[in-house]
Symmetry: D2
Subunit: 139 residues, 4 copies
């Protein structure tokens, strides 16, 4: 069974919009943070360190999706559960579920790649085959 990680947080006033609920795009930001916390829990060094040691600048998204099930508002405590659902050759699928108690708020699905700076254009980035050690650590 896949490794799972729980990331806990409290919704802030500034996370909410004039409809009084979490501005939806924040879930994507939180899933990204939850992904990094998942990596850390799995023993993956910081991207700063992997950039220095192996040129891997991180695991950027090629596709992100979220389904919004229930709304949430500021002052509420939520948790995000994260795991890898599938490993491909160059990409992998992360899943995230944000919950307030037993209530599912948002379900996320991310397709990510491990990336290096594009040698032909330092302003762009480039996917590499999934490194075996990172796959093993996160499985």
């Amino acid at each position: 069974m896949a490794r799972r990680h729980l990331h806990r947080m409290r919704i802030a006033f500034s996370d909410c919009d004039p409809a009084q609920i979490v501005f939806f795009a924040n879930y994507f930001k939180w899933f990204d943070t939850a992904f990094r916390e998942f990596c850390t829990a799995c023993g993956v060094p910081s991207w700063r360190e992997t950039t220095a040691t192996r040129g891997i600048i991180g695991a950027p998204l090629v596709d992100a999706q979220a389904k919004f099930r229930n709304s949430a508002t500021y002052g509420e405590d939520i948790e995000i559960e994260s795991w890898v659902e599938d490993w491909g050759g160059k990409s992998f699928v992360m899943r995230h579920v944000a919950r307030r108690g037993d209530t599912v708020l948002c379900e996320g699905r991310e397709v990510r790649v491990f990336a290096v700076q594009d040698p032909e254009d330092p302003l762009r980035i480039k996917a590499i085959p999934i490194p075996e050690d990172l796959r093993a650590a996160c499985s």
Copy 2:
């Protein structure tokens, strides 16, 4: 053919992350703004006004997806093209494409509903059947 709207903007330093590129979740924020600009161009009053006149607090998302095709960075000018791809009974599908010149940066797909405050719980919201006049305006 569906009505289309172009939203132009310049990427700011603070829109970018330590990888020097746009932090992906900003595309979702920008698509949301582009959707509202699309509505305004179609003659839909502000949500503030529809809240006051009809109880419609806005058109929140039930599903959002983006495919990230090429990275972009600060100082670059981009445009977002937006249109309604499909109308359902209670939901509709918005499409957005962000481009820098001819380069597609990000393609977005949003499933939205028109919502009112939940009469049974003022902290939550509730979808309503798509109002005919709003559908006509945005088609």
Copy 3:
């Protein structure tokens, strides 16, 4: 001596800018959250509740200042210490210090008022004299 509150958090990748450090405006956002956590620790009900019971929509800022002492980056754990430095008739001064271990990162000073919706213009807000019970709770 004034009541003090400690708010702990970890800096996220998306909190940082292309210079690899915390984007400065995030400190203002975090101080705002720290202020609300301070209120909660002092027994002040949520603004949602005070809006319903007393019309007080919150304690918006009339002035905010921060001095940036040392930079910080993602993955670092920081804490924010918050207290009221001074009470005026209609406004009060909050102080915040963000630290990473013993290193001061940022010092904040906020002038806040308690506000109600402006009876003459529901889109605007208006300061009220500081309620005695809220002052007592936060001192």
Copy 4:
């Protein structure tokens, strides 16, 4: 008389908080963008370019302050006027005023330095004496 620059923008839904008004910290973000637009208008190359050519990674803040005069909400068009108020040896003072028509919304004051990567710690940054050519360009 100092060079001045006008930056125009429309307030988005996601810029506003549950009090229905601009979340205050966004003014700091917008002033930062307005500062960069000011630099561009003055002929200062992108920080990406100055990093490559001269090691100058940008002009980070050592102090930022804002006074909030009137609230604003989404859908409103505003403009930000920016200029250098004072030049010191290692720092300079930027001023910004955000207006909606004739109404002043927010007045900002930033103390900035030109910075290079700290040679003793690549994760930190360091101020340099103000380069004469940048001072001349922005005056």
